[in-house]
């Protein structure tokens, strides 16, 4: 009974997985429009579960946040929040909102820089414009990593420098005069072209913990984007228009989701809770498909073998004996290696190796049934072989089917997990086995143990155990209901 409840619960989770967690289980991405390069990942690697904050009092842990709202500049109000600063005064600089010039034909920032031929060059031949946008960072601890992004377009009618525009992304805390430049962002536009350039990057992987240097506590911060226009042709006019769009900083939290995040793949760590939910699906599919098909094959073979007897029986049973002798996991390893690691191959192999035991049970039962008087009379009444099997023998052995169905499921689930663990799983599928395989690939179990990242290892392991046990319990219960002899003994 308990088994049935647990199975039903898992069934609901399996069906409702996309509703319970709308995230993508394998390659989750941050929603939103980010042209050029890859879509940013959804979460930082190895973030802890979000309830650590409330339950364990780790309030300082940051969550995911977007520093800038409406980075597509669809609304004029958003533009008004941008502040402008120039390196020198005396030049004709206008900044305005362009409602149709953006990358999606929506809004963008338009900066026009003009210098008359008679005017002096800006110092060093470079004119710097700083666009700043203030935001509130509410967490004491620094974010796990930062994703920054911008799109720029240059309409250069007069400047002929090889590197007409450089762009730098930096952050400034409160009113501090010094801003922290995120490394390696200065990016000269190599061509003079009327085309959008989009650039993005993560701070992670740079030298030193940049996030900790930038974010030293909660407070007001400014996301800055510095445009450096090269204007070094003396005696000629300068008339440059720079369009800026999609300026964004995504601050990845150290806490994410109900069960934290994995570190695999690094380009888009997975939300472990979502993976756990989808794993229910996969395990159910593997377990039930394997159980149903292998029991069906076992039933067919057992019926034919037991009723028809003779050479057919001999051939089928010798083949079954042979397969029974072969060791399970090694044969699985070999077959999956030879056939390939797709989930369908794994299920196919599990079916191929799962039918023998049941066919033997069915056969022995059929052997005793076929000698009974009611079969005899059916035959005497002129019933054909198929009719006798279908109408008289099948109903009598069918009780066994339910029991074997229930007991075949856990084996399949555990086999899939074991195969995945050995590196023979289908890594394109969010199964519990793959979750555990991912963890073993990080070598953390050997280096640090399970304590720190328990939320990655314990849930799938417990899920496998609970689901397997639920099916075994159901098998036991069915056995007791359908085998009166067992009930008597208790």
């Amino acid at each position: 009974m308990l088994g049935l409840i647990i199975i039903a619960l898992f069934g609901v989770i399996a069906v409702a997985a996309p509703v319970l967690s709308p995230l993508d289980p394998m390659e989750p991405k941050w929603p939103g429009y980010y042209p050029g390069g890859d879509q940013p990942k959804l979460c930082g690697k190895l973030a802890v579960p979000i309830w650590y904050k409330s339950l364990l009092g780790m309030q300082s842990l940051p969550e995911n946040m977007e520093a800038i709202e409406d980075h597509e500049l669809a609304l004029t109000e958003t533009f008004d929040k941008w502040k402008l600063k120039t390196s020198q005064t005396g030049y004709d600089v206008t900044v305005q909102y362009n409602p149709t010039g953006g990358t999606l034909d929506d809004g963008c920032i338009e900066i026009v820089y003009k210098r008359d031929a008679t005017q002096q060059l800006p110092s060093g031949g470079k004119f710097t414009i700083i666009l700043g946008r203030e935001f509130v960072f509410p967490y004491e601890d620094s974010p796990k990593s930062i994703f920054f992004h911008y799109s720029v377009k240059l309409e250069n009618r007069t400047l002929l420098a090889a590197f007409p525009l450089g762009v730098t992304t930096s952050y400034r805390r409160g009113t501090e005069p010094q801003s922290m430049t995120v490394k390696s962002q200065t990016w000269p536009i190599l061509q003079v072209a009327d085309k959008w350039y989009s650039k993005s990057g993560y701070t992670q992987g740079e030298v030193g913990p940049i996030e900790e240097d930038i974010f030293t506590g909660s407070g007001n911060y400014t996301h800055q984007i510095t445009l450096t226009i090269t204007d070094d042709r003396e005696g000629s006019n300068a008339d440059v228009t720079v369009y800026v769009d999609n300026v964004q900083s995504l601050l990845y939290g150290k806490a994410f989701g109900l069960l934290g995040t994995s570190s695999i793949p690094l380009s888009s760590p997975r939300d472990l809770f979502t993976m756990l939910l989808y794993g229910t699906r996969i395990s159910f599919m593997i377990g039930l498909l394997t159980a149903i098909l292998s029991v069906a094959i076992g039933l067919a073979v057992g019926l034919v073998s037991g009723y028809v007897r003779g050479l057919v029986d001999e051939g089928l049973m010798r083949f079954a004996d042979f397969l029974l002798v072969l060791p399970g996991l090694p044969l699985l390893i070999v077959l999956v290696t030879v056939l390939g690691r797709s989930i369908w191959n794994i299920v196919g192999v599990l079916i191929f190796m799962g039918w023998m035991g049941f066919s033997r049970t069915v056969r022995s039962m059929v052997l005793s049934l076929r000698e009974r008087p009611f079969i005899e009379s059916a035959k005497a009444a002129g019933a054909g072989t198929f009719y006798v099997i279908y109408r008289h023998i099948l109903p009598n052995v069918f009780a066994l089917v339910y029991i074997s169905l229930a007991t075949a499921v856990p084996g399949a689930i555990i086999s899939e997990a074991s195969l995945a663990w050995l590196g023979l799983g289908d890594i394109t599928i969010p199964s519990w086995g793959i979750m555990l395989y991912d963890f073993s690939a990080t070598q953390t179990a050997i280096v640090k143990g399970l304590g720190e990242y328990w939320f990655w290892v314990i849930p799938p392991g417990v899920a496998i155990a609970v689901m397997a046990m639920a099916f075994i319990l159901m098998g036991f219960a069915l056995d007791e209901i359908l085998n009166p002899k067992l009930r008597q003994r208790r």
Binding site: F322, V325, L326, P327, G328, L329, P330, L331, I333, V334, L335, T337, V338, L339, P410, I414, A417, S418, W421, L422, G423, L424, L436, S440, A445, I446, V447, K448, G449, L450, G451, V457, G461, I464, A465, V466, A468, M469, I472, L473, R489, R490
Partner: protein
């Protein structure tokens, strides 16, 4: 039919099975759609010297027609001639001879302990059937039976090796042996035993639940027999009834089961070894999977199947010898 002809028949049956396994191996590695063996030999052209490659091709007879290859292949399998590993470039048979005893040691220790503890607890559970202890034992067995063995291994590793540092994280020999190797046989044995503790415990936990359930079931089968009631009725102490009358009769199906669970045991051992980097057959095949080392994999499968076949053979013989009621046939 007498005992002798029974044994003879079993031996013939075993030889047929071994031959069939070698043939299955040939089919798997030579006739499957993407012709794994040939592909890997071709792939490794750059990896080893020309004459080693030629030797490999000759061993598997890749240049000859299919039927000749089949004969050569089965011949090679039966004569323990598995070719070179693509990775280590050792003879595979030497590698296997080196690691097989380690696996057998691990399995032997674990299965002995599991049988002793499992059968004993199974008898207790059956005797107190329906009670709290029985329920607890059955639940524990089901739980350990349902958990993947590598997960059990991780828990043990995490608690006893990483946190408490009672044991080393893995390997066949203690790390200190790299600098000062053992000087006496006692030191050697002690060191090896020290390293085998955690993998054995993991494997033990994985299999002992099955033994509890099995012995509980078989004991329950016999405990309701009439002669047990008779034994009780004539005033024998419970202990004597349980051990002499019940367990002795229940032990027959247990012996057959021992052979049948051998495949299960091997599967558990393979995975346990990879968790603890214990240098046995499991670790060998794990590395072979990672590198696509086909000669190692086919030899591994053949040797493991051979072990299972031999185990079944021994169980059949024991059964025939122990149970006088059995009709050899």
């Amino acid at each position: 039919m007498g005992l002798k002809s029974y044994i003879a028949k079993r031996i013939v049956y075993m030889l047929i099975l071994i031959f069939l396994v070698a043939s299955a191996n040939f089919i798997l590695f030579n006739l499957m759609p993407n012709n794994t063996l040939e592909k890997f030999v071709l792939q490794s052209t750059g990896k080893m010297t020309a004459d080693k490659l030629a030797e490999l091709r000759a061993i598997f007879g890749l240049d000859r027609p299919l039927h000749e290859r089949y004969v050569a292949y089965v011949g090679n399998m039966l004569t323990w001639n598995f070719g070179f590993s693509f990775e280590t470039r050792n003879y595979v048979q030497n590698d296997i001879a080196r690691v097989l005893p380690n696996t057998l040691l691990l399995m032997g220790v674990a299965v002995t302990a599991a049988m002793l503890v499992g059968i004993l607890l199974g008898v207790v559970a059956a005797y107190k059937r329906g009670g709290a202890l029985d329920t607890a034992l059955v639940t524990t067995s089901l739980a350990t039976y349902s958990v993947p063995v590598f997960w059990i291994g991780w828990l043990l590793l995490s608690i006893f090796a990483v946190q408490l540092r009672w044991f080393e994280v893995g390997g066949l020999e203690p790390l200190s042996w790299a600098t000062n190797p053992p000087t006496s046989i006692i030191q050697y044995v002690a060191g090896r035993l020290y390293m085998i503790v955690l993998p054995t415990v993991a494997l033990f936990i994985f299999i002992f639940g099955g033994w509890i359930l099995l012995s509980r079931a078989t004991v329950l089968e016999t405990i309701t027999e009439d002669y047990v009631t008779t034994a009780r009725a004539k005033g024998l102490p419970e202990r004597t009834v349980l051990l002499k009358h019940v367990l002795k009769n229940a032990s027959l199906p247990l012996i057959t089961s021992a052979a049948l669970t051998f495949g299960f045991l091997i599967s558990g051992a393979i995975i346990t070894e990879t968790v603890f980097s214990y240098g046995g057959m499991g670790l060998l095949v794990w590395n072979a999977i990672a590198t696509g080392d086909v000669p190692v994999m086919q030899a591994f499968f053949f040797v493991i199947a051979l072990l299972v076949i031999v185990a079944n053979f021994i169980a059949d013989l024991l059964y025939g010898v122990i149970d006088p009621r059995i009709k050899y046939g």
